[in-house]
Subunit: 513 residues, 2 copies
């Protein structure tokens, strides 16, 4: 069958393959979930998990190491503090989370790029924290500030990512104590999508919020969230003072803290999905509670980073059925807590290449994340090797998949026009619908269109070098970077940011730890 | 972190990687769905789709070309017959389907391999109908009877496929009019899993049921289904006499007919998911109705083969969001019809290689199929190039994914032991759970274990040739074939089958069409 023939007969098709792929297309931006969420667990199972979280907090407790301020806040709130250990009566931690908003906005300096967290809103973001990058031209290597900037640009250009993420790659060519300055500068100048600030010390958190104030204004930021912080728990059941200190800086600034326990099942907690879900809930509730004790009403996200391991070989695994079920449970638990969910998952894999395993793991984890109702999806693009590597090729492959998943989350229509009755009067039994009016009215917009070129028929594909999809992806990210144009920014604002960075850099010697 | 170290310290781990991978493991066989189905659509949307199906059958109708018997049966049942065209008052076709059982068994000659269709039962099957095969050693080539036998053996050996399928590949080295005999012989002797018979003419259907009777007995088969037939509709809205003739042979024999409309959205029907779902329902109800007119109570499956196209290039696409939504809708429509669902989907892709696209498409389609409640999954293993090719490597990659999906469909426990409270008394905040008693009690069975070796750390993987997962899969299928042992069969039964095949082959000259 030759669809092309049918459609070109009516002159609807533009000439040539490259023209089509390069031509700017109006791309819809999907920000909302319009299909129902999937509930893996019933109320009884969820209640058992919540009871286990309460048991952990009451019997075992959580340690806040080296943070007397946090310990004092918890003591005042009624928790039992014993050295660094904090224990909570059943229900207390959950009660302390009640002032956290169920839905809130992360403001962009370009209002069209502001995002809402919670409810039916969807916020997809790139990978976070990889020390390495890879692409098929240059191979695997340490990430640099140039790479960091590239991924901020790519995220800015994609309609399928709503947020720039944070440490999209580690800029390893910049001193550790100065990286946050260059990263903030890139986020603020190269993109207008929401972003995350530094968390590797309370001082770097302070620098990050200070830089944001140069763009958004101190008064606006005191009332509105414009940035997020990734507060990782040192699971099991420990907050170190770096993380709890950074948490307090962001919460005091009324900026969003995302509390992410980090649990590999069997290593940082018991190996079962039920146990991981309960422990994640326990650890996250305590962090959210701290944010509310610092500043009631401060926006918080119930985060999670978890996965499974091959417990026979010790290898980390991603996208496994056990991890995906945990992800689905976490979305439900977060909704019951009433706090937006950054559910574990995203497009994650342990694979070393953007191969079949990588994309299968990623697809599996993404279905679990999105169908279960996760609000914010970290690691939605680029992640390889269990997060050690950001891959340029996988980044654009993941973008296509983000778009496809977002399209699915829109559902489909059942209005009269969707049924195309007129087409059956044009094309009866045994006839071809390609040239019916209904097909011609809708063929350019009906289907999601990936941006990596399709393989085409075997013979042509084989003659052209039998390129797998990752090989076809190289041209796509290069094309995107070549087409990048920075957003506008007032000269005095840019100058103030540059000056801030220069002054802070000059004020301290390079440190590499 | 070194999990291996933790566990080997207690001497629980077997020595060496290959030993582990080759050692026989007791593998659970998952036959039931234990988690809820996902309902994409609400009642109002489903009713609109059903109304559209009724409209199609009432206003446009379906043609039965060259099958006077079928036309007469429909006329007697109250349909309006006009030449080859059959039209149905709204509700009539659905009414004629009511005698089809909601759940039934396909019997194996080894009762442990019998499968149930409908309810919470899961039946996964290999790909169907590919004229080509490929593997990384020998490349892409026409399929042969040897390949056919290999895939029957591989399906027999896998715990993740419940059914051998039918024409798993086209044995192109056998005359077209004799293929069904060799395929039936392979299904009946090399495996004990349920299978499908020939449908390419009513006579070949008759041969297929006759051969099955040599194994199962005529009396048993008159009361019980032991085989299935793939009745493809010549969509849009046409049954040719080959298909309706074969349908009547199987229905008269009380064997299972699976009615599968075959619709590429925009070509064989309007391009929207709602329209494809409605037309599939209309076409399938008519076929199921015919089976019930031939023999009320005959087991039938509400099938579907559908996908989307890139309507700008004419390329077929698989695993697209539009196709996956259609798949999800079909599962719901089939449940409302009360007939087991072979939902479109499976592990399908248009990719020419078992690359990232192939596994992403396949994973996406499989989630849509299984989460929405499809009972029977065709094309769950091996499919490439839109069904033109069965890939040995993708077959075993898909097997691993079938296992992972089946494991997920079991859900997870929330009993006391699942929470591992004792582990928290052994390992407190900041400590490692790898050597807790809870981890050691469960680490060998907690997680699904793929059978293709994992990549391992980047450095080792790179030194060993940086093999992508498809490259690592070659050894796996070769190992499975080397380990294959045929099931027992009585000598006289085998002899009777051989004799039947020899006599039928001798009775007709080779035909290649």
């Amino acid at each position: 069958m030759n669809v092309l023939g049918h459609i070109t007969q009516r002159g609807r098709l533009r000439r040539g393959r490259l023209t089509r792929h390069n031509a700017p297309q109006p791309v819809p931006v999907y920000r909302h979930r319009k299909i129902p969420v999937y509930d893996l667990l019933g109320d009884a199972a969820l209640t058992r998990i919540e009871d286990q979280a309460d048991w952990i907090l009451d019997t075992i407790g959580v340690e806040f190491r080296g943070d007397e301020t946090a310990l004092a806040l918890f003591a005042t709130a009624g928790a039992r503090v014993d050295g660094a250990r904090v224990r909570f009566e059943p229900g207390l931690a959950r009660h302390l989370c009640t002032t956290a908003p169920a839905e809130f906005r992360l403001h962009s300096r370009d209002a069209t790029n502001s995002v809402d967290l919670g409810g039916d809103n969807l916020v997809l973001m790139p990978g976070y924290g990889a020390p390495f990058v890879t692409d098929l031209d240059r191979g695997r290597r340490y990430g640099t500030l140039d790479d960091f900037r590239n991924f901020v640009k790519l995220a800015y250009m994609s309609p399928w990512l709503h947020h720039s993420g944070g440490t999209v790659v580690e800029p390893t060519d910049v001193a550790v104590n100065k990286r946050h300055l260059d990263m903030m500068l890139a986020h603020l100048t190269l993109s207008t999508k929401p972003f995350m600030g530094g968390v590797t010390s309370p001082g770097r958190a302070q620098d990050s919020t200070d830089m944001a104030r140069l763009v958004f204004g101190a008064e606006f930021m005191d009332r509105n969230a414009v940035m997020q912080a990734n507060i990782n728990v040192n699971s099991p059941l420990v907050y170190d003072d770096t993380m709890s200190g950074a948490l307090r800086v962001y919460a005091a600034a009324n900026q969003c803290v995302c509390i992410s326990p980090a649990i590999f099942a069997g290593a940082m907690g018991p190996l079962s999905p039920a146990a991981v879900a309960a422990q994640t809930l326990a650890e996250a509730m305590v962090g959210i509670a701290l944010s509310q004790l610092v500043r009631p009403g401060c926006p918080a996200v119930f985060g999670s980073f978890h996965s499974s391991m091959n417990l026979k070989t010790g290898a980390l695994t991603f996208g496994s059925p056990e991890a995906n079920m945990t992800t689905m449970a976490m979305s439900q638990l977060g909704r019951r807590l009433g706090v937006p969910v950054r559910s574990g998952g995203g497009q994650v894999t342990a694979s070393n290449a953007a191969d079949g395993q990588a994309m299968q793991d990623s697809a599996d984890a993404m279905w679990a994340t999105l169908l279960s109702g996760g609000h914010q999806v970290w690691h939605a693009a680029g992640w390889l090797e269990g997060g050690l590597v950001m891959s340029y090729e996988k980044f654009v492959m993941d973008l296509d998949h983000c778009g496809a998943m977002l399209k699915m989350l829109q559902g489909f229509g059942v209005e009269d026009e969707d049924f195309g009755r007129d087409a059956y009067h044009e094309a009866g039994p045994g006839e071809n619908f390609l040239s019916t009016g209904h097909t011609l009215r809708h063929y350019t917009t009906a289907n999601f269109q990936p941006r990596i070129p399709e393989a085409g028929p075997y013979e042509t594909w084989n003659e052209n070098g039998a390129q797998t999809v990752d090989q076809r992806a190289t041209a796509r990210w290069q094309q995107m970077l070549a087409a990048y144009e920075p957003p506008d920014m007032q000269d005095n604002m840019r100058a103030a940011l540059m000056e801030f960075v220069a002054e802070r850099k000059a004020a301290m010697p390079d440190e590499w730890y």
